[in-house]
């Protein structure tokens, strides 16, 4: 079978699926849910911030707030330091058009390796839409590492909403990173590559901006990095955290934090993985960082956390309906780390 066969299979999909997707009332279901639950979200958001601020000064207060949300226990955990194998990239590459590209991080847990490509456009910034953090892709770019080849067109970008000049692209594949030591990573970008894929037909203003994007490349460029092994520090949360969810006890355990990632977690039952979501980290000063799109994420996600010591908590949210965004959260659990 070929990939074309998948296309034809999608083409021939069950008519009920097409019918369902094209019924406006079905498509808008999440919106209705969001409106009904908005007061819940507002209350939850305010309380989470209160909890985060309180966590820095009072363990008892933090525990009490989490119980209020439905978590029957907020465990106080200690972070310990462990060595973790990681790979460090080569030097950033700067293109003539001002774009700087860095193979910034490689993280591996023994089964999966994650690379992070970082694209900085400090002078021009990236084209954004209505203040949204915008996930998009490059046209015609590819990255190869050893036998692994990535067509970057198919990978989503996350724009750093704080600076709007940096975009990140995470690539994951199976296997331990040890095998990558000494390998060469080659990034090739075709002309017109450095261009955000805004949807021109629906957004003429953005389309015009893209046409004039100074980041457009006039010719193909290719460059490489040699990957080198290095030791990175990570912190592992010992023990576990339990909370009550729809009459079931859920357990969060084996939380590992590194400067680039948080990995975990086990719960009772696979279904919970789609109902109970990680919202993000709570920092010492009470601010939150985490999911750039507001919450549609499965357990386990990558985000940039520069200073592990500043993390005082992790917020989890549960959903009554199919989870679409953090705003739909109906219950919040807070895991206090300090």
């Amino acid at each position: 079978m070929t990939k074309s066969d998948l296309f034809w299979a999608l083409n021939d999909m069950d008519e009920r699926l097409i019918q369902e997707a094209n019924e406006p009332q079905n498509a808008k279901a999440s919106n209705r849910t969001k409106r009904y639950l908005r007061p819940v979200w507002l209350v939850a958001a305010v309380l989470i911030l209160c909890t985060a601020a309180a966590a820095a000064t009072s363990r008892l207060w933090s525990t009490g707030m989490a119980s209020l949300f439905g978590g029957d226990e907020t465990a106080q955990k200690t972070l310990t330091e462990n060595g973790m194998t990681s790979l460090i990239y080569g030097a950033p590459v700067q293109l003539d058009n001002g774009l700087t590209i860095t193979l910034e991080q490689v993280l591996c847990d023994g089964a999966t390796t994650t690379l992070a490509l970082r694209f900085d456009a400090p002078e021009t910034g990236w084209i954004t839409q209505e203040n949204q953090t915008y996930a998009t892709a490059f046209l015609g770019a590819s990255l190869t590492i050893g036998d692994e080849a990535f067509n970057l067109t198919t990978w989503g970008f996350e724009l750093d909403s704080a600076s709007e000049t940096s975009a990140f692209l995470n690539l994951s594949f199976g296997g331990d990173c040890g095998a990558l030591d000494g390998q060469t990573a080659v990034l090739t970008m075709k002309p017109n590559t450095a261009k955000m894929l805004a949807v021109c037909e629906d957004m003429p203003d953005e389309a015009e901006a893209i046409q004039n994007d100074p980041l457009l490349l006039s010719e193909e460029v290719s460059f490489s990095w040699t990957l080198e092994m290095s030791e990175a520090i990570c912190k592992r949360l010992e023990g576990s955290f339990s909370g009550e969810y729809e009459g079931m006890t859920i357990t969060v355990e084996d939380v590992t934090l590194t400067p680039v990632s948080i990995t975990f977690i086990t719960t009772e039952g696979a279904d919970l993985r789609e109902k109970l979501y990680v919202h993000g980290f709570i920092l010492e000063d009470g601010t939150e960082i985490g999911l750039s799109d507001g919450g549609y994420n499965y357990f386990g996600f990558d985000t940039v956390v520069e200073d592990l010591d500043s993390i005082t908590g992790i917020a989890f949210a549960s959903f009554a309906e199919a989870p679409v965004a953090w705003e739909d959260a109906t219950t919040v659990f807070v895991l206090s780390l300090k």
């Binding site: 069950d14 699926l17 094209n22 499965y298």
Partner: protein, 182 residues
């Protein structure tokens, strides 16, 4: 006019059937065709062919869902036209093919195998949550752009991208488990 009444007009061989179809579903068909062809001229011809095809199909057909039936006719005609065109424009379909890592659209496999894979894909899609499923179908059947899906479903574009990425990954795993080697 209700769909059943429109279908009745086809059965009566009344040309009003096409007028009513055009009025009710013209924009829907146009959108489907344009997503594939990205050419107003081709789209117009494709939609006109759709009405003729529907005229020929009813009777004897009596579709239970006229919109889906009509959408599929438009879809298939537009795909055929897309494949026949040498100078293809940058359509939404082309973006979808790129996402699916298809460089050239080959001829479909023989009927039984094609149907078996389609059934497997449909079975997988039925396991998804309705919102996720709708987003996937709007992208990979309607070929709607990310921004259009975002507007239709009422979620942010970043979330749409995120959903699509994860669903593609899940589908791949599902098909691998079902022994489909794609």
């Amino acid at each position: 006019m209700e769909d059943q009444n429109i279908i009745e007009l086809y059965w009566q061989r009344s040309e009003d059937a096409i007028t009513e179809t055009k009025q009710k579903y013209g924009p829907y068909c146009t959108k489907i065709a344009y997503n594939i062809l990205a050419s107003f001229e081709d789209t117009e011809e494709c939609v006109a062919d759709t009405y003729l095809k529907l005229w020929d199909a009813i009777p004897p057909a009596r579709p239970t869902n006229l919109k889906a039936y009509l959408g599929r006719i438009t879809h298939n005609l537009a795909i055929n036209r897309y494949r026949a065109n040498s100078g293809r424009k940058h359509s939404s379909l082309r973006d979808v093919l790129t996402e699916l890592q298809i460089t050239e659209l080959e001829d479909p496999a023989e009927e039984a195998q094609r149907k078996a894979l389609a059934d497997a894909v449909s079975a997988f899609l039925f396991t998804l949550k309705p919102d996720v499923r709708s987003v996937f179908v709007l992208r990979y059947w309607n070929y709607d752009s990310i921004s259009v899906i975002s507007q239709k479903v009422g979620i942010r574009e970043a979330t749409v991208n995120s959903m699509l990425y994860r669903t593609r990954k899940k589908l791949k795993n599902y098909l691998n488990k079902e022994d489909w080697d794609l």
